[in-house]
């Protein structure tokens, strides 16, 4: 006991001795606390205790062997299934270390100590025995040996910001300065959501609580910095809060919003990788664009006449089968752009994974209705993520119905090894003049073509587009040329 030993050293040493002991009790974590003395053995030679804190680890802390504790039900061995840590990782008490399995039970083993992992005793799928060491953890020097039994505690806090977790029946952790802040604002500490470690309430938590209650963002409170209390139990002489200035309304001070978002770098993989490769390859193609306007009034009429018949066959008829088939006819009649015999016309599809382009095979052999059936099948597969390899390969030309989402004009990118692509804008009802000069309502859709200028020239594209357009504007003429 200190009272019994008479200390003959200088008074400065005496004061430091006392304050150092108090510091050890008051501070929550003494960082590199290699205190140069042990609590119960006083060295009387002055001059030894000059420095109480070191700024670096001069020697490694004690290695604690964390043994696999009893799982219950008399189980003696388990299989290690997954490690959540590796050698060199820093862990805190209650962090998950590994997952073991025994007889249909999966057990999460959590750390008993704070420290750094120094050794893992088992590989994945090896058998671990209860009572044997599982990991070695290097704890910080000076820490008291952890409890042998697992500490029974209330469940851990949520990581989410606005947890509504009540601190039940436990002494709420907060420094005296924080407590003072709470009392001054008539706040019960048990109602405040704690965001500090081990359920500690911080100054920010009190401020957040106040903001929530009043619904306002408060000006930064003119408080002193929160500090561990001075060792001497002096009465706080200075008031915590300086007197607020005189009656004039203070200008609102909005605390500068701190943007905590972080930029993320993600490796490109999977679908994204495929897209990057395809588009980089497309870049090599010299694109030229050609746009036009198509009057679909007649087609709209035709489709509404055929709708009933199509639905009686169990299929909802859209405009796309017409666009695809007429494109195909135009090929045959005038412009032989591609030498391929099979016309596999692709449809750009927006799925949850991104852009996929399945194609309808051999459009030249299919009727408009058959194309509709096939499109429907592809759409269902696309929506459920089941498009197969054969659906996605072999396309010779692509149409993109971007207008179904929105937009009028586009500049589509050709998908190699194709030579052209068309993007269809949305259909709008617009005023137009007919041949008699009357103002009529017309269903107008814009089409934007892109073509490979090494193979196709502007005039060819123009003629092809005109042909396609004329079929769409006069669907009855299809009848003459349909094969």
């Amino acid at each position: 006991m200190a009272a019994v030993i008479t200390v003959r050293g200088p008074f400065a040493f005496m004061r430091r001795l006392v304050s150092a002991r108090l510091h050890k009790h008051c501070c929550s974590r003494v960082q590199a606390a290699c205190l140069a003395y042990r609590p119960h053995s006083y060295s009387l030679t002055a001059g030894q205790q000059r420095r109480f804190f070191r700024t670096s680890y001069a020697a490694a802390g004690p290695i604690m062997q964390f043994k696999l504790s009893d799982i219950g039900e008399g189980i003696m061995e388990v299989t290690v299934k997954e490690w959540y840590v590796k050698v060199g990782d820093k862990v805190s008490q209650f962090d998950s270390i590994c997952e073991v399995q025994s007889d249909k039970a999966s057990v999460t083993i959590t750390s008993r100590y704070d420290g750094i992992i120094r050794k893992l005793y088992y590989d994945i799928d090896s058998i671990a025995n209860v009572g044997n060491p599982l990991v070695d953890i290097e704890t910080e020097a000076g820490e008291v040996e952890g409890p042998q039994e697992d500490v029974v505690e209330t469940p851990p806090m949520s990581q989410e910001e606005h947890t509504h977790q009540e601190i039940k029946g436990q002494k709420t952790q907060a420094t005296p300065a924080v407590r003072r802040l709470a009392t001054e604002n008539n706040i019960k500490l048990s109602e405040v959501v704690a965001s500090g470690k081990d359920g500690r309430i911080l100054k920010e938590d009190i401020l957040n609580f106040i903001a929530q209650q009043t619904g306002a963002i408060l000006p930064p409170a003119p408080f002193q910095e929160i500090r561990p209390p001075p060792p001497a139990p002096a009465v706080p002489s200075a008031p915590a809060k300086p007197k607020t200035p005189a009656p004039s309304i203070p200008t609102p001070v909005i605390p500068k919003p701190v943007f905590t978002g972080k930029d993320r770098t993600e490796p490109v993989k999977g679908f994204q990788k495929a897209m990057v490769k395809t588009m980089s390859s497309a870049l090599k193609i010299p694109h030229f664009g050609y746009c036009d306007e198509v009057d679909l009034t007649q087609l709209v009429r035709l489709r509404s006449e055929l709708k009933g018949l199509s639905e009686s066959r169990g299929m909802k008829l859209s405009y796309m089968p017409f666009f695809m088939k007429l494109r195909n006819i135009s090929f045959f009649l005038d412009v032989q752009i591609i030498a391929q015999a099979a016309h596999n016309i692709g449809l750009a599809m927006d799925t949850t994974q991104g852009l996929l382009v399945p194609n309808v095979k051999n459009v030249q052999m299919l009727s408009v209705f058959e194309i509709a059936v096939e499109l429907n099948r592809l759409q269902i597969l696309g929506a459920s993520g089941q498009l197969g390899a054969s659906d996605l390969t072999g396309g010779t030309f692509t149409l993109s119905n971007i207008g179904s989402i929105g937009g009028t004009y586009a500049k589509p990118v050709i998908l190699p090894p194709e030579v052209a692509i068309g993007a269809l804008g949305k259909m709008q009802v617009l005023p137009r003049f007919n041949s008699k000069g009357d103002l009529v309502k017309a269903h107008i859709m814009n089409v934007s073509w892109s073509a490979d200028h090494r193979i196709i020239d502007g005039a060819t594209m123009c003629r092809f587009s005109n042909m396609w357009r004329s079929y769409l504007e006069n669907p009855a003429s299809m009848v003459l040329d349909l094969k």
Binding site: K104, I124, A274
Partner: protein, 370 residues
């Protein structure tokens, strides 16, 4: 109305700004029985996790009852490619979920009752829980021959498995959940739980032990899920000696259970469902125009780590093979992604028609195992 109780006062008192399900439980009483109002497998698994993580179970016992629309649930350390028929499930739209507890693969549908017994880690006792179930059934039908085994299964007539068990132990709490077959679609169960690829897969994942199964309704048509759930609830109350009525909870109610949405989303991710599969390897072969091509892959975290094709000399140009191999390395072991990678590969490498065809057929062989 999310919580249905006879006493409305209890609800209004508790719905303060910072109230959650935990505070609600404290006001209700010590031991509780909860029923989930959802039949979504991911939502119900997330509900289990939420209760395990956020409710103080030191002095309390909770029983959770739920039923799910058709789904397959694999254990924490299992290999879905080995355990179930994934192509069939995709065609039928049956989702796959991975739970956090160990054990084997189960098929869920609304004819299958799920029970989760939450206790503190010290009070974890699976036999006691199973006795509650068997006693409940015997109360309903005294002549019913149901018994629990030391592998924690429940057998009907000494032979047919009607219940399987799994458990999860955390730091301070534990849960033990099990199923009970009342009126499950048995033909769908057997076709979905049979993998076509188990021979070509080599892995250390926990294998399931297949057993003959039967429905309770097969032996007694009055034993439907509602009747059986009622019986189990009363037996549980008898066993743990309390009388609070059963509470129904909506597992999507975020303000009542903060964090449950994120838990549900986490269970849906590919990284959890497929990516948590322990390392395994696949060895298969595909015949292309009478030529036998061997395929060897190592899959780690659900992604292809090694991809080797064995083919006779000159069958394919070496650069194309190397290019294809490097495309496959690091990709997910997933048919969707492989199909997209293949189409991008064919687009970006100008290949002669026959070579493109060979690569295509090779890829189809790979996809058939996924």
């Amino acid at each position: 109305m999310i919580l249905r109780l006879s006493d409305l006062n209890v609800i209004s008192k508790s719905v303060r700004l910072k109230s959650t399900l935990t505070t609600f439980f404290d006001e209700i009483g010590k031991d509780i029985i909860i029923k989930s109002s959802s039949t979504g497998i991911y939502e119900n698994l997330a509900l289990e996790d939420w209760i395990h993580d956020y409710v103080d179970l030191q002095n309390r016992n909770i029983l959770l009852l739920c039923r799910n629309s058709p789904a397959v649930v694999i254990g924490r350390h299992q290999n879905p490619w080995q355990e179930c028929n994934l192509p069939l499930m995709r065609r039928l739209g049956i989702p796959l979920a991975r739970r956090r507890s160990g054990g084997g693969t189960v098929f869920h549908d609304t004819g299958n009752i799920n029970m989760t017994f939450f206790t503190s880690k010290k009070k974890y006792d699976r036999h006691r829980n199973l006795t509650v179930v068997t006693n409940a059934l015997k109360e309903l039908r005294p002549n019913l021959d149901v018994n629990s085994t030391d592998r924690f299964d429940i057998l009907l007539n000494g032979h047919y498995k009607i219940s399987g068990t799994a458990a999860k132990l955390g730091r301070t709490a534990a849960y033990h959940h099990c199923t009970l077959l009342c009126s499950v679609d048995r033909s769908l169960l057997s076709s979905v739980l049979k993998s076509n690829n188990s021979q070509v897969i080599k892995s250390n994942a926990t294998p399931s032990v297949p057993s003959p199964v039967k429905n309770l309704m097969d032996v007694d048509p009055s034993l439907d899920t509602d009747t059986v759930m009622e019986a189990i609830a009363s037996q549980y109350k008898k066993e743990f000696d309390f009388a609070t009525p059963v509470i129904t909870v909506d597992p999507t109610h975020e303000s009542l259970m903060p964090g449950v949405h994120k838990m549900t989303r986490d269970l849906l991710t590919w990284e959890w469902v497929y990516g948590k599969t322990p390392k395994f390897s696949v060895s298969t072969s595909v015949v292309v125009d009478r030529v036998n091509i061997t395929l060897d892959m190592d899959i780690k975290n659900g992604k292809v780590e090694r991809f080797d094709i064995g083919f006779p000399d000159g069958w394919l140009p070496l650069e194309i093979v190397n290019e294809f191999t490097s495309t496959m390395n690091g990709s997910r072991f997933c048919p969707r992604e492989t199909a997209v990678l293949l189409s991008a590969f064919i687009r970006t490498n100008s290949l002669a028609a026959d070579i493109a065809e060979k690569i295509h057929r090779l890829c189809e062989g790979v996809i058939s195992v996924m």
